[in-house]
Amino acid sequence: MISVEDFLTLKVGDLLEADPLFNGLSDEPVVLRVATDGADRKDFVATYLGVTLGRWSAKRNGGRLSWTFK
């Protein structure tokens, strides 16, 4: 999981890589692109091979991040 420090440096358009979706089939990772950039909340669009999986939202609560999937 990304740290709060990493979270604070993320800007719109930045990319994060999650683990591959289908181990053995391909090493292609799930990619999270920062879609909206707020001080305490950022939204990510998750894609695999360019196909949209959905949106993740990370909210900062003090020193912790809580994630939700939309």
Binding site: M1, I2, D19, G24, L25, V30, L49, V51, L53
Partner: protein, 136 residues
Amino acid sequence: MDFQVNKSDLYSVADILGMTVELDYATGKLSGKAERAMFLGDLSLPLKPKIAGSLLLPECIFAAVNVLGNLALLVVISESGPQRCTVHVLNLAKMDQLDTWLDKKKPKTRGEALELLGSAVVKSYRRVNTTKWEPM
């Protein structure tokens, strides 16, 4: 049905999908679903891939699998050849409804299915052996 399903093919597909795949010879349908997780470091997102539709023909078996969001897979097992077992990554935003696609389109071969899917096919893989796949 003339074409007998090779169980190692089903197991291979089941491994990739992380699910148990069952074949009902009476209905001629495949079924299977699973609960697994996608990871971003320690963060996990639940995934529930499920076989949404299938089509069993004498020469070819098709399984359409819903994964997450617009992501789906088409698994094709044909009678023989180097492309006996293939997996095709699909973008649901570029095709008709997945769960009825096979019943409505009724492709007879892998090639016909891929032609009907057109740009909805994002990438294709073929099984090299029981553990190895490669892009087509």
